[in-house]
């Protein structure tokens, strides 16, 4: 009887009581949380939510910069944008999905190594090396890929010797003995740019796994790969879901890699939006494009999260 363990006292605070969770009730002021929220949330409403709605109305306007724009419920903008940019959309999601899978394939072994194979000292060194590239302007780093993948450079030479480029040319990822200005270069850049966003959530979820679980699985006749498939991977699923979302979403809206490492025939939706907004000044089309992009991403993310069975990411 004396071994009964004492849990915290019941703290079942009914919702909406305006009561600080577990703090002195006398300091309760129903309005306190709202005062705290007001500036930050107002900022997001005014500069994030309102612009989104505004963009919706812009996409239904017609006119020109000189004469002004007017809402005319011109739904054809959407249709025209889709027709003109359908291949941009296909490429956006195709490249983003490929990059996400590559990030998972490349990032998982590294996250696993940091979480389970590295000593404590090495763990922090490796983590620093994963995060540190963040602090160099990503444009500069992306431009560095132009050097790495340059025609006649060592990387291209190696790929050529190994006849990898023959294979990738055959399936349309590269053309001739070039890597730059091909889909491969864009996917390579996207993978590189968003790899840390995959590794960090993976590491966080792997790091929580008690190494004794591996021993227990081994004790229960699981071979190392079975242990990974049946124990480690399922437990790390939240990290996989978070990592894939953090990679896929920004990658599908990116236009920098396509611009710097690709040619006009690798352009993505982001390039289209950027061009319409900054060069053509056709704001309704830019708005329609980003609205379609947003809707498609939200739809895909919702379906994906349903399938993956996790809705708690924040």
């Amino acid at each position: 009887m004396s071994t009964l363990t004492e849990a915290a006292p019941p703290q079942a605070i009914p919702p909406d009581s305006g009561q600080p969770a577990g703090s002195a009730p006398r300091t309760r002021r129903k309005l306190t949380p709202y005062w705290l929220l007001l500036p930050g949330v107002a900022w997001l409403v005014v500069f994030f939510a309102v612009p989104m709605l505004y963009q919706g109305s812009t996409s239904l306007q017609t006119g020109s910069l000189e004469d002004g724009f007017r809402v005319t419920w011109h739904l054809a903008t959407y249709w025209d944008a889709l027709v003109e940019y359908k291949w941009h959309f296909v490429r956006s999601f195709g490249y983003a999905a490929t990059a996400t899978l590559l990030c998972l394939a490349i990032g998982y072994p590294l996250a696993y190594t940091i979480a389970f194979k590295a000593s404590k000292r090495w763990r922090s060194v490796l983590l620093i090396l994963v995060i540190a590239p963040f602090f160099t302007s990503f444009l500069i780093r992306t431009l560095a890929w132009k050097t790495i993948l340059s025609d006649g450079g060592p990387v291209v030479g190696l790929l050529n010797t190994l006849h990898v480029l023959d294979v990738t040319s055959a399936i349309g990822l590269t053309s001739g003995d070039r890597v730059l200005a091909t889909p491969l270069a864009v996917v390579c850049g996207l993978t590189y740019n968003f790899l840390p966003f995959m590794i960090l959530p993976l590491y966080t979820s792997l790091e929580r796994i008690d190494p004794r679980l591996h021993e227990a699985a081994g004790d229960l006749y699981a071979r190392p790969f079975t242990t990974f498939r049946k124990v480690t991977f399922p437990i790390s699923l939240p990290g996989v879901v978070a990592g894939t979302l953090l990679t896929f979403i920004p990658a599908s809206g990116d236009y920098i890699n396509a611009q710097l490492l690709g040619s006009p025939s690798e352009q993505m939706v982001g390039n289209g939006i950027q061009k319409q907004f900054l060069n053509v000044l056709d704001y309704p089309t830019a708005a329609a494009l980003s609205f379609i992009l947003m809707a498609l991403i939200l739809g895909m993310v919702t379906v994906y999260m349903r399938k993956a069975g996790t809705e708690e990411l924040v």
Binding site: F47, K117, L139, I140, L143, A144, I249, V314
Partner: protein, 267 residues
């Protein structure tokens, strides 16, 4: 030979991990190496000759250091703004239950789940339609907007993990609510706030997409400068700045950790 393959098999995961790490670090090494290049022509993509010219004269390029200073100003102000606003929101979410809590959480989450180009174009559209001239202010507004969510997430995680008994203990030991906040809550939440602020700084300093849609002709941040240079010709000094940032970041992180370890060991 078979022993070699056994060894490879046993260390397959680690080898794959190290290859991934090489993939991550390689561009930084290239940036470092090419900061000592003396390129032929305007672009710095092919190795020509070793030179320390760029390191001895980092500001020798027109407008680059102005853009760097503009980026620093924006990043500092955006960090302060996002950290203050975000910390307040984080405390509200972590410490109170109130009507609209889940709506607020969704509102915080959305900017992080939105491609930057969508936010960039929509905010730009708003400024255009409101006839607000693009410039320093619009950049700052945009940066605070997208940094806010990251601060909230970092601070909220920290505040949620704090033992509520510590603040109760302070109250029990005669600290008024204000004293409790200043002497216990704030110091305890500081690591989360610092993490959020650091992240904001890095995000704001490095942002390109949102800045490109919301800046004016005279407000060229450092990433905007690099972008422009990538079309016209890249000075080697860009690599110098990139390398210096990398070294400073690694140095700060390692130094911070070393200090932390030392304090733990001796204090």
């Amino acid at each position: 030979m078979s022993r070699f393959f056994t060894w490879i098999r046993a260390h397959l995961v680690v080898l794959a991990g190290l290859l991934a790490l090489a993939y991550l670090v390689l561009p930084n090494l290239v940036v470092l190496a090419f900061s000592f290049n003396k390129p032929v022509g305007k672009f710095n993509y092919e190795w020509n000759e070793f030179s320390t010219d760029a390191w001895t004269d980092p500001c020798g390029v027109a407008d680059m250091c102005q853009s760097l200073s503009l980026s620093l100003q924006v990043a500092v102000l955006a960090t302060v703004g996002a950290t203050v606003l975000g910390t307040m929101v984080a405390f509200a979410l972590a410490r109170y239950r109130f009507r609209g809590r889940s709506a607020t959480t969704a509102m915080i989450f959305l900017p992080m789940a939105m491609p930057e180009v969508v936010m960039a174009a929509s905010l730009g559209t708003l400024f255009l339609n409101m006839r607000i001239p693009f410039g320093f202010t619009t950049i700052l507004i945009a940066h605070i907007m997208f940094c806010l969510s990251f601060v909230v997430t970092a601070v909220k995680a920290r505040v949620m993990s704090m033992d509520p008994r510590l603040e109760q203990a302070a109250q029990d030991l005669y600290a008024t609510p204000v004293q409790t906040f200043l002497r216990v809550t704030l110091p305890l939440a500081a690591p989360g706030i610092a993490a959020g602020a650091l992240l904001s700084f890095a995000l704001s300093f490095d942002d390109f997409i949102i800045t490109q849609f919301n800046s004016g002709p005279t407000t060229v941040t450092f990433p905007m400068f690099v972008w422009g240079a990538s079309q016209r010709g890249i000075p080697v000094q860009v690599n110098v700045i990139g390398t210096a940032m990398f070294i400073a970041a690694v140095g700060l992180t390692v130094g911070g950790q070393w200090l932390g370890n030392r304090r733990k060991a001796t204090a």
